[in-house]
């Protein structure tokens, strides 16, 4: 497998969204190619950092505010 193909596939590789055959080919390439390996590691760090962003909090009063704002009538909808 060539670098270009491996780099195209790296975003999938991060999530193990691969067939066993593709996995073996990419892993073999990463063992031999430092540039692609660095790219793979950088992408792993990117995903890790993205997923470490802290969630936004909501004020303690939020739920009560929503409940106060509900209309008195029963919910409707199309069934």
């Amino acid at each position: 497998m060539h670098c270009r193909k491996v780099l195209e596939l790296l975003p999938k590789f991060i999530e193990n969204d691969f067939s066993e055959q593709e996995r073996a080919a990419v892993e073999a390439h990463l063992k031999e190619c430092e540039a692609c390996r660095l790219e793979f590691e950088a992408m792993g760090r990117l995903v890790e950092t993205l997923e470490s962003f802290p969630p936004v909090g909501v004020p303690k009063s939020f739920k009560e505010a929503v409940m106060r704002a509900l209309p008195a009538k029963k919910p409707r909808g199309e069934k």
Partner: protein, 194 residues
């Protein structure tokens, strides 16, 4: 809500109770999803107060249309779909330059904080992490909107690909391709800091 055990009830069961006339049971839905929805909407609109207003509107919309929820589907997907449509409609109407993030410590319990302590060993590392997160945030903001929403759903809200497809109405293959392409775009944009 006599004998009401929110922990053992599924979303669908809670919805049924609300539809049967117990409006108070809707608080269980709000409690379960307020943080997730606010987080998703905040990352979309990038303004805290606005994201809370939109989150409230999403719950009111969900309540008003609760009887249209089909229990054959996952409730969270239905709710996120409402949130996605409502937020995108709002953003289309706005079309104004994005406001900076302004989150004060005394906003009534808002807890948005950078997780510097948990990631860094020293003040220098903290600064580096803060800078890195800022750069990544800018890169995400700079993505085309259809890619950006998917990154937010996937990496900030941990939705599955299948759920993302249902929320956005895109085919599963398109969702996967776009999220993979979005990662490549982010890598290109962050070349100098990684």
């Amino acid at each position: 809500m006599a004998g009401f055990q929110q922990k053992v009830l599924t979303d669908t069961e809670v919805v049924r109770i609300v539809l049967d006339g117990d409006q108070e049971a809707f608080a269980v839905i709000v409690e379960r999803y307020q943080k997730g929805l606010a987080n998703y909407i905040f990352h979309m609109v990038r303004h805290y107060e606005e994201s809370l207003e939109l989150t409230q509107e999403v719950f009111l919309k969900a309540y008003a249309n609760l009887a249209s929820f089909d229990s054959a589907y996952k409730f969270s997907t239905w709710l996120y779909k409402i949130a996605s449509n409502h937020t995108i409609d709002h953003m289309r109407k706005q079309r104004a330059p994005e406001s900076p993030i302004e989150i004060s410590a005394d906003d009534g319990g808002g807890t948005y904080e950078l997780p510097l302590e948990s990631h860094a060993q020293s003040p220098h590392d903290s600064l580096a992490m803060k800078d890195m997160m800022g750069r990544i945030r800018e890169a995400v903001d700079g993505l085309p909107s259809s890619y950006r929403e998917l990154v937010i759903l996937r990496h900030f809200n941990f939705r599955s690909y299948e759920e993302m497809a249902k929320i956005t109405g895109l085919p599963l293959g398109t969702v996967k391709n776009r999220i993979f392409r979005a990662r490549q775009m982010l890598m290109e944009r962050l070349k100098d800091v990684r």
